[in-house]
Every structure is written in C-alpha cells, then in structure tokens.
C-alpha cells in the first residue's frame, strides 16, 4: 500500500517545466532513493510533496487522503518531516532548543518528556555532547546532523531528506547509513542522494529523475544495469 503517491504532478516556473507529469508511488516502510543530475527537478518534486512548493497541476495523495491543496504545515502535522538541501536550522538557538522545537510540535506533554525525547534524538545523531552549543557555531556537518535530528524528533511516518550526506565526513556518512537502517524499521524514507555508495547501501528501491520526468525505477541492481541511466547520469559522474 502506498504511503504517498502522485498523479500527473507538474511544476512550471514561468515557462520552465521543472517537473512534468510525474506518477509516483512510495509503499509504506520502504527506503526510496531519488536520484538524477543537477537540475533534474528532485528538490522541486519533494517540495511539492511537502507543500513547500505549490504544484502547477496534478495531485498528491498521502495516507489515502488528497493533500494537494493542504498547506505545508498541515502536511507536517499529518506525519511528514522534511530536511532542506541547503541546511536550515535555528542558528541563534541552542542545539537542544532546535530539537525541542521539533519535538514540542508532536509531544504535547511536560517539558521533562520533551527533554527525554531531545536527549534520545541527539544521541542518535551523535550530537549528545553538544546539547548546549549554539547551532550556528556547529561545523557544517554537525548542522546537517542536527537538521536530521529535528526530523527524527517529529517521529514522522514519512521522512523526506534532500541530499543529507552532502558535506558529511566519511565516518559521518557511515553513521548516517546506519541511522537510516535503524530508522527504516518504522519510518518510510524518501532520500535525495548524490553519493551512490549511500544509495546502493541504504535504498530498497530507486527512482531516477531526468529533465523533470521519471527515467527509470527499480532495485539498486536493476538501476546499476540500466543503460539509459548509465548515459544520463551515472556515466557523467
């Protein structure tokens, strides 16, 4: 059963067709990688899933409800979480408060319950010892991890990550792959990723986007063997 799907989803930026007519299904429990060359329309596509970007036509169905007209914040309250391609944290607030803001929207309980959640999340993203630091003072890689932590804190049904490993060190990338593996036990994950190593290790299934259209879909092995993907994307890498 699909957790999220689209029918004929398109985006037109003043004449530029960034995404055209995409039919997409993501079954519950899957880790899906969305790949494709720069400018293929990946960010635009997930932006329309999350409601951050308004679609020009087509529809989005989430948990069997048509959410095409819902604003972004309502979609988040239905169980989505989203991390930006360009890191976006509350840079003047503490690491703890960043995650607490995410947790508080979901957990309407005493501060101690929120704090417990924050502590457990920070542990998962290897930031437990930076609890008290100002987010803007963290290194770039740590800010990315913090943003992933903010997603985790919402305990989402669907977690959308736009190029999460960009700027992470090799060991952090390994940690991230492990994190996805643990998380995938009870979360559906949609991952935009350029690092093919991550894609091959973490994803169950891959969608390739090219010029705003789906070029191919399949398991990591199928995609690796696909000739048109080779020429459009993998070859040029």
């Amino acid at each position: 059963m699909s957790l999220i799907s689209t029918r004929g989803l398109s985006k037109n930026y003043a004449g530029l067709q960034a995404v055209s007519n995409v039919d997409f299904n993501l079954p519950e429990g899957q880790v899906r990688a969305l790949i494709g060359p720069n400018g293929a329309g990946k960010t635009t596509f997930v932006g329309m899933l999350s409601g951050r970007i308004k679609s020009s036509s087509g529809s989005v169905i989430f948990s069997e409800k048509d959410i095409t007209k819902l604003p972004a914040h309502k979609r988040m309250t239905m169980g989505m979480a989203y991390t930006f391609q360009i890191t976006s944290v509350f840079s003047k607030l503490s690491v703890h408060e960043n995650v607490a803001l995410a947790a508080r929207r979901v957990i309407r309980d005493k501060p101690s319950v929120v704090n417990a959640k924050v502590t457990s999340v920070l542990e998962k993203v290897y930031l437990a010892d930076r609890y008290d630091q100002i987010a803007g003072d963290l290194s770039y890689g740590h800010q990315r991890l913090l943003e992933i932590g903010m997603g985790l804190a919402q305990s989402p049904k669907l977690f959308i990550l736009d190029e999460p490993t960009q700027g992470l060190s090799a060991t952090e990338v390994e940690g991230f792959i492990e994190l996805i593996r643990v998380l995938s036990e009870n979360t559906t994950i949609l991952l935009i990723e350029h690092n093919m190593d991550v894609v091959m290790k973490a994803a169950h299934y891959i969608t390739v986007l090219n010029f705003g259209e789906i070029l191919a879909e399949g398991t990591p092995d199928e995609i690796r063997a696909n000739q048109s993907v080779q020429t459009a994307y993998l070859g040029s890498h």
């Binding site: 951050r52 930006f84 803001l101 508080r104 502590t119 542990e123 437990a128 919402q154």
Partner: protein
C-alpha cells in the same frame, strides 16, 4: 554514552536554577518598584507612574517586535484604540469606569484582529508601511471626528469617572499602585508567555520562519495571535493612561507614539522581558532631563524639541547598539530572560 549522561546531568542543575533566578529577578523588580514609591520624592513617583504605563505599551510592542520579529510602525493605533475606546465610552455613553475599561480593551483587540489579518498578508518593509498607514488613517479619523474627540486639543476625563473599586485614581498614591499592579500583571504575563510553548515558537518564527513552517507550525496563526496579544497590551496601556492621567488627545494616536515604543524596546533590548522597562525609564529621563536643561539655559523652542533627542538616540542605537542595554547585559549573563 557516559559523556552524554554527564553533560545532561551537568545541565539539569543550572536549568532549574535558571528558572528560579528568572522568577526571582521579576519578583525583585516589582518589589523594588513598590518600595521606590516610598523612597522617591513626589515628582519622581509621579513620573514613575507614567513610566510604568508606557513600559506596558513597550512590553506589548516587544511581544511582536522582540519575540516574533515583526517590526510595526503603527502601534499608536492600538494604544489610541484603548485610550479612545475607554475615553469616549465614559464621556458619551455614560457607563461606569469598569465597563468603559472593558470597552477600551475590546476596541484594541478588535482593531488588532483587523489590522493583523490584513497586514500579515505582507512581510518585511511592506508590513512596516502597511502598519504605518493604518495608524495614520486612525490618527486622521480621530481628527475627522473632532466634534467628539476634540482633535489635537483632546478632552479631560472627570475625576468622578476615575474611581475604581472605591479608589480615587486622580490621587497620587492610588494612581501609582494602580499603575504598578497593571505593570506587574503584564510583566509576569509576558515572562510566562515567552517561556511557554507558544512563546518559544514565536522565537522560532523570528529566527527562521521557513524552518518553523516545515516543522509543522502554523505561522500565520501564531503571528496573528502575537499581533492580538501585542495590540491588547498596548491597548491596556492606552486605557490606563486615560484612566490614570485623565486625558485623551490625538497626539497619542500620532506617528510619534508608534515610534516611541520601538525606541524604548530597541534601547532597553528587544526580545528580553526587562528591556522595555529599562528603555522606557532611560528614554523618559533622557528627554525630561534634556528639556529641563534646555529650558533653563536656552530658549523654549529647545525644550519643545524633545523628539530631537529621540532621533539622535535612534540613530546612535542602530549604529552602535542594535541589541540595546539588556542585550549587552545578556551577553554577560546568559540566564537573563
């Protein structure tokens, strides 16, 4: 792991005492203000009553500017809505003071709902201009109905209309403690608000609106509620001003009264609970002192030019201390609310 428990435990203690230190600070300030009345000569305690009311206005402004990050240039409209809602009700419908107070507060709330819904469709510079224009329209409306409002000249409110629960508020002691009670209520209210879930979300919106939206917060709803709270507090200050000092005039609706709370908050420290009070005290005495000096040594025109001081302070603040006094203090002691 052991590192984690260590740091979490190490944090737990100051967290608790941070809360109690903050409560202590707020209660301490109110007690200090209570005692000041008996320590100060009459002239200054009269001033202080005025300062407390204006500080409430500044605290209302701070909710929107300091905590939500929305710079309004039209808060005189909310202040004047309270002032005229109260003043006109007591003058023309002949209600008892408590009913007029409620009418004053309600008119400020209604005006802030309308202005909020419209102005929040814009952001940034457009928001500033829209609020400025609405306030200007409000000021001109006061002049247009000069038959009732008496325009710039204004009108006095009878002594008999300034009696609340048997206390004659034209009498200095009653007036001071009434102002202090209002101040204390609003002071604790904002302190509680900014530590609440809602207040923390406002700060998140101020810091990074797009991120807050993508965490699932309804930005427009939060901003609208912030405008209403801010407008209500400003309106309460307007009601109190008319009630305690017995006068309502169009100058309180004019653009200067939109600039002054901005000035108080910038000077004292935006986004801090005690900033508005510090800024109001400082600015009030700066103007008072300089006009005293000017009228003693220079011509009377100098004394009336108090907005010159305001202008100079505004420029100096934007140039050298955008964080204000409390901001400077806070960089020294982190626990300041």
């Amino acid at each position: 792991m052991s590192q984690l428990t260590e740091s979490a435990a190490g944090f737990q203690k100051p967290l608790l005492s941070q809360g109690s230190r903050s409560i202590l600070l707020h209660v301490g300030i109110v007690i200090l203000l209570f005692l000041l009345y008996f320590a100060l000569p009459v002239y200054h305690s009269g001033n202080l009553a005025r300062i407390l009311v204006l500080a409430v206005f500044a605290m209302g402004y701070n909710v929107l500017f300091g905590y939500t990050g929305l710079l309004s240039l039209g808060h005189a409209l909310f202040f004047a809505s309270g002032m005229y809602g109260f003043g006109l009700a007591i003058q023309f419908i002949d209600v008892v003071p408590i009913v007029a107070i409620i009418i004053g507060l309600l008119s400020a709330v209604v005006v802030s709902v309308v202005v909020g819904i419209l102005a929040l469709r814009t952001t940034g510079v457009a928001f500033m201009i829209v609020t400025l224009m609405f306030a200007q329209a409000g000021y001109l409306t006061v002049l247009l109905f000069g038959e009732y409002t008496r325009g710039d000249e204004g009108f006095n409110i009878h002594r008999s209309d300034r009696v609340l629960f048997g206390f004659d508020l034209s009498q200095a002691t009653n007036r001071y403690f009434c102002a202090l009670i209002l101040f204390a209520i609003c002071f604790f209210l904002t302190a509680w608000l900014v530590h609440s879930r809602f207040g923390k979300t406002l700060v998140a919106i101020r810091e990074n609106e797009e991120r807050a939206r993508m965490l699932g917060y309804d930005i427009q709803r939060h901003k609208l509620i912030a405008v209403i709270i801010s407008g209500a507090l400003s309106g309460a200050a307007g009601v109190a001003y008319a009630l305690l000092f017995g006068y309502a005039g169009a100058s309180f609706a004019a653009v200067q009264y939109s600039i002054l709370p901005l000035l108080y908050v910038l000077l004292g420290g935006a986004g801090t609970t005690i900033g508005p009070l510090i800024g109001t005290v400082f600015m009030f005495y700066l103007i008072d002192l300089s006009s005293d000096l000017a009228s003693a040594y220079l011509s009377s025109e100098f004394a009336s030019a108090y907005m010159l001081i305001a202008g100079i302070v505004l420029i100096l603040l934007t140039l050298f201390a955008p964080q204000g006094f409390a901001g400077l203090l806070r960089s020294k002691c982190k626990w300041l609310p």
